[in-house]
């Protein structure tokens, strides 16, 4: 059966460039481009967009991409694979979701920790892949196989059997064993080191703290995941998969000087930030507001890490540890900046 396929990729896989081309607006190309050539069937049209452009102009980008998709009348949309990428994964998951909701089945491929999995909202199928692009050879045939079946209108079985991420859907079925028996099996398996679950956990629901009555009395702290560190990165913060957060004194600093600070984050183009690190953490502006009495005081320690390919559990641990430090220091509020 000949199926009509559209493929979505980012600026890098479309050959436009790396971070320097992350601001590229949506692009439509005939036929297969880059990894699309490895899917094993004819790609009718390739759609591409810069990762920063998509994130910053999501509505416009989606509107344009969906318009092109609509014109093609494809049987299935394939997005990525985007591996561990956050922005690319988010774009893939979002486009796949919207396409699927408009009747075009969609398949993505990405690392299970990518924000694109949540962005897909269960509307699209996500094939789990490696974090690194070396997983390309394994990912493409898996995505292609699922895409082919979706295009043919086949019913797809449960995630564990068919090799895709759980979509958050529940189908009722009669189990062979009672809940009590299955619970004992899960417990015995866990004791043997095999941790399984029938229901996937979701993120915490934390109610918003009450507002601060008067910011003129409050101590504010600056925290960042932008990878900002003193020039030379003395404590060797990683550019991805940070194993720790770090803290540095802000005493005596009216702002961040480019000569004294740098970012080591490997997940975004850093030249703009390195030219003026206040673009990552607004130290200069906060100092002004404190001087004018709009904010009580600034906590004189910066907490920093690289938020790039950080496992969720690790990020949660960092957050809890930093929060505890801030509470112990009497800080009332945090301005956290992210890239």
């Amino acid at each position: 059966m000949v199926i009509k396929v559209a493929h979505y990729i980012n600026q890098f896989f479309a050959g436009l460039g790396g971070e320097d081309a992350a601001g590229a607006p949506p692009l439509r190309l005939e036929g297969a481009v880059g990894p699309g050539k490895g899917l094993g069937f004819e790609v009718a049209v390739t759609l591409a967009c810069g990762d920063d452009y998509f994130g910053e102009h999501e509505e416009d980008a989606l509107a344009q991409l969906l318009r092109w998709l609509d014109e093609e009348k494809v049987d299935v949309l394939i997005c990525g694979p985007s591996f561990g990428s956050g922005r690319y994964g988010y774009a893939c998951g979002s486009l796949a979701r919207e396409a699927a909701r408009r009747g075009v089945p969609a398949v993505c491929g990405m690392h299970p920790e990518s924000p694109g999995v949540l962005a897909a909202e269960g509307a699209a199928y996500v094939v789990p892949t490696d974090a690194k692009v070396t997983g390309m050879r394994a990912a493409l045939p898996q995505m292609a196989a699922l895409a082919r079946r979706l295009a043919a209108g086949e019913t797809i079985g449960p995630p564990a059997e068919e090799g895709y991420m759980p979509r958050g859907l529940r189908r009722n079925e009669i189990a062979d064993l009672t809940g009590a028996q299955r619970a004992i099996e899960l417990l015995l398996a866990k004791l043997a080191g095999d941790v399984r679950t029938e229901v996937t956990a979701s993120f915490d629901d934390v109610p918003p703290p009450p507002p601060i009555a008067d910011m003129a009395d409050a101590t504010v702290a600056l925290v960042t995941e932008s990878g900002l560190v003193p020039q030379g990165n003395p404590d060797r913060l990683e550019s991805n998969r940070a194993h720790a957060w770090l803290s540095y004194s802000l005493e005596g600093l009216a702002g961040f000087e480019a000569a004294d600070w740098e970012t080591v984050h490997g997940g975004y183009g850093t030249s703009v930030a390195n030219a003026d690190p206040n673009r990552l953490v607004p130290l200069d502006a906060v100092r002004h507001l404190v001087a004018e009495g709009r904010v009580g005081s600034l906590h004189e320690t910066l907490y920093t890490t690289t938020g790039n390919s950080t496992p969720v559990a690790t990020a949660a641990k960092f957050g809890q540890e930093i929060a505890q430090r801030l509470r112990d220091a009497g800080v009332q509020a945090v301005i956290l900046t992210g890239t």
Binding site: G55, L118, F203, P211, D276, L280, V281, A285, T339
Partner: protein, 67 residues
Amino acid sequence: MFITALPTIATMVGTNRTLRGVAVTSPVGEPSLGAEDELALRRGIVEQAVAMLSTEVKPRTVWEART
């Protein structure tokens, strides 16, 4: 509160007070502006951040940048 150019991701994981930042590569900066104008922009963003901290919000609230 959290300043980021990707507020949807922040909301997805349950962040309650998010302010949309300028760009992925510079959440609180705009390199096309001169130094004075850029500092004024950054001050404006921080003022909004300060306002958000002292405002009651529903869960997962996102504020857009004031223009």
